[in-house]
């Protein structure tokens, strides 16, 4: 599952970044690295882009870009 599949308010931990995705480099630069915890805190009017809380920052990210961030939900660990 990826960040794009998370529901509003859901918290998850980054498992892997899909390096084949064209946005992967930018995503990593913004601090989406494996092991980091993130939460979807807001969704824009059409459910896209998402506002994600990561490393104490809020980052707006399109679902398309968020698809390269593979996550696991801690409860499922």
């Amino acid at each position: 599952m990826t960040v794009a599949d998370l529901n509003f308010g859901q918290t998850a931990v980054i498992k892997n970044i899909d390096l084949k995705h064209p946005s992967s480099c930018r995503v990593i630069e913004y601090g989406f690295t494996p092991g980091q915890e993130l939460q979807v805190v807001n969704k824009s009017i059409f459910n896209d882009p998402l506002s994600v809380s990561l490393r104490g920052a809020l980052i707006a990210i399109r679902k398309h870009d968020a698809r390269c961030i593979e996550v696991i939900i801690p409860d499922e660990l």
Partner: protein
């Protein structure tokens, strides 16, 4: 005192930092009054270069660079930014690099600092926004950080400039002590970034201090925080600013978010028009009085005519827009400084992406309502080339402030005295302009392979900064420099064209006017000969060539000449009509007497009224669509690097403007509205 000798090269300090890290605020604080914008050869990046404020006693250039997230370029423009950081073509290698790091974003912002240090630059790290981190009950141990990074680190908030002396002393020391090292340019990959982040995470554990553990002021929070830290993730530092989260829950709310967004935009435009109008009237009256003053002082001769109509009139056209431009940049600056602009971009991203645009197109499009030139330059923040070109392509359709006096004149002609109705129609003109631009974007995006012939990855990732009370002095400083830029860019062109137009309408001056006529009070004779002079002038010769083009629109050569003049700047239309119809100097304001002249104007030899409801409406349609601004064409060529884009724009916009004007004029006439 500085130890530089004359023969030595002046040193260069470059400011680098991620967006929203306080980099530009720091630049504004340290830099002297004289800013210079520097273009890179063959590229579109602009840096501000300045000296230091004299009181600091540092003799070096200070260069501000565009905000970057890392040293890995993702767009051609970013590549130039980063290449030039290593060696600037004009200023050389930086002797010292100041990297700003927002401590509330410590791990994310330290990435760039680490990359800079690893590349071998002589670096000073400035930790900003320390108050935000302290609100979360954390602080950074700068001594420890300095030791780990191997460079000087200082806590300094450029928004509250206490302790600037310590920073200055550090800069002086490092500037003189630091030797130019050979920078090793690393070819960073995703793996490298991941590796740096791992290092940063280790570093963070060493330098991050929990304020509660040391002071024990609030044992409950301290205990809670300790538990959080024990829990591993979700420690206090990793929770975003709580006030920002609260505000976002309203401003980014699914339903209220878009509602507030529309409201803020509406308020912004309302302020541009309503707050600006008294100031604009004041400037208009002032210019007019000045013209009269010159006329009275010099008497009625060609020189006073040249001075009052050619130069002062031209200058007035430039100055009249200043209030609107100042308000637009001020409001934009306040929105940006408060942190809302990034949210606006996020809210509008999805609808714009359906049309092939990007949330980042939002600010350039918004600036397009003031003037297309800064707007087209602002499109540089769009990383994706296709989206950037598409944004630039539609910006001329945003009704810029230069069109406002034209609409103002035509609406006053159409609906004399009906201010509310005029205002409503004006709002409609703006909305229709936006709708047309979106349709154009949609069509071009659909056939992008024909028009733009490339396809690439579109993405939108953007930091949403913490909401802060905007710092008015900073916003004012930026507004001021934008206003000066406007005057410098628009001023000379408009005055030159105004002069040329004056010459074209006044020469050849075969028909002599006797200056004594005025003193005799025989003004009718003067007016008659002046209108004769115009119809014999060079302007008339040019205009008569275009008569066949203007006729289908129900207009004549005089409007044609005025339309040609608008290529200098659209607002010239009003002053050129005034010149063409020889509006007499009177105590009334210019537009009112011009409207009277327009009502009486006849198409040569037909006795038919030139300005009717149909033709005035047609002209409004023409101004809405036509690309008739040389500066816009030039800047589009410069920013896109090809002539194809501006040429396409001229064909599509001016062609459809002509066609739609023809349809409007003849359609209205068909329905009996003349």
């Amino acid at each position: 005192m500085n130890s530089d000798t004359v023969t030595e090269r002046k040193k260069l300090i470059t400011l680098v930092g991620p967006p929203n890290s306080g980099k530009t605020t720091l630049f504004n604080l340290l830099s002297g009054k004289k800013h210079k914008t520097v273009n890179y050869p063959g590229a579109t990046i602009e840096y501000s270069v300045s000296g230091f404020l004299e009181q600091y006693g540092i003799s070096a250039y200070l260069m501000d660079s565009p905000g970057i997230v890392s040293l890995i370029p993702v767009s051609p423009d970013e590549k130039v930014t980063i290449d030039s950081l290593y060696t600037h073509p004009d200023y050389g290698k930086p002797d010292l690099v100041i990297v700003t790091v927002d401590t509330s974003q410590f791990s994310r912002h330290l990435l760039l600092a680490k990359q800079i240090i690893d590349s071998g630059f002589n670096t000073v790290v400035v930790l900003t926004m320390n108050d935000l981190l302290e609100e979360k009950n954390f602080t950074i141990d700068e001594t420890e950080l300095s030791r780990s990074l191997g460079c000087n680190v200082i806590k300094f908030d450029p928004r509250k400039p206490d302790g600037v002396d310590t920073l200055i002393n550090m800069l002086k020391h490092d500037l003189n002590a630091g030797q130019l090292k050979t920078q090793n340019r690393k070819n960073h990959t995703e793996e490298d970034v991941l590796c740096i982040y791992r290092e940063i995470e280790e570093l963070e554990k060493k330098v991050l201090r929990d304020l509660n553990n040391s002071s024990e002021n609030n044992p409950h929070i301290a205990k809670a925080n300790r538990e959080l830290v024990i829990a591993g993730h979700g420690a206090g530092i990793k929770i975003p600013d709580s006030l920002t989260l609260k505000i976002d829950s309203v401003l980014l709310h699914k339903f209220w978010g878009i509602f507030i967004f529309i409201l803020i935009m509406a308020l912004m435009f309302a302020s541009i028009f309503w707050i600006a109008s008294p100031a604009m009237d004041l400037i208009d009256t002032g210019i007019h009085n000045f013209e009269n003053f010159v006329n009275e002082g010099l008497g009625d001769n060609w020189f006073s005519d040249l001075l009052s109509q050619g130069i002062i009139g031209g200058l007035g056209v430039v100055l009249v827009f200043l209030p609107q431009i100042v308000i637009l940049f001020f409001v934009l600056g306040m929105l940006e400084d408060s942190g809302y602009l990034a949210r606006g971009a996020m809210i509008i991203d999805k609808p714009l992406s359906l049309l092939g645009l990007n949330g980042r197109s939002f600010v350039p499009m918004l600036s397009g309502f003031a003037c297309a030139i800064p707007a087209i330059m602002a499109a540089r923040t769009i990383q994706n080339k296709r989206e950037r070109i598409l944004t630039i392509f539609i910006i001329p359709l945003m009704s810029c402030s230069a069109r406002l006096p034209v609409y103002g004149l035509l609406l006053a002609f159409l609906f004399p005295g009906k201010y509310f109705l005029s205002g409503l129609i004006l709002a409609l003109i703006y909305v229709v302009g936006v709708i047309i631009s979106l349709i154009v974007a949609g069509i071009i995006n659909r056939y992008k392979r024909t028009f733009l012939n490339f396809e690439d990855n579109s993405s939108f990732i953007m930091e949403l900064p913490v909401y802060r009370v905007p710092k008015v002095s900073n916003v004012l400083k930026n507004t001021y420099s934008n206003a000066v830029q406007y005057l410098q860019k628009a001023g000379p062109t408009i005055v030159i064209f105004s002069l040329m137009l004056w010459l074209l309408t006044n020469f050849p001056a075969d028909v002599k006017t006797n200056p004594d006529d005025v003193s005799n009070g025989d003004s009718v004779a003067v007016q008659l000969s002046e209108s004769e002079r115009i119809s014999n002038s060079y302007a008339a010769d040019i205009g008569k060539v275009m008569e066949p083009v203007m006729r289908p629109l129900g207009l004549d050569w005089r409007v044609g000449v005025s339309l040609i003049a608008t290529f200098a700047a659209r607002e010239v239309f009003v002053s050129s009509l005034a010149l063409m119809f020889k509006v007499t100097e009177s105590d009334e304001n210019m537009s009112r007497s011009l409207i009277n002249e327009m009502k009486n104007a006849k198409i040569n030899g037909t006795g038919q009224n030139l300005f009717t409801t149909a033709t005035a409406a047609g002209l409004i349609v023409f101004f809405m669509l036509a690309l008739q601004c040389i500066s816009t064409i030039a800047i589009t060529k410069k920013e896109t690097g090809v002539w194809r884009i501006p040429v396409l724009q001229i064909i599509i916009y001016t062609g459809s403007a002509y066609l739609l004007t023809f349809l409007t004029v003849n359609g209205l006439r068909f329905f009996g509205i003349n």
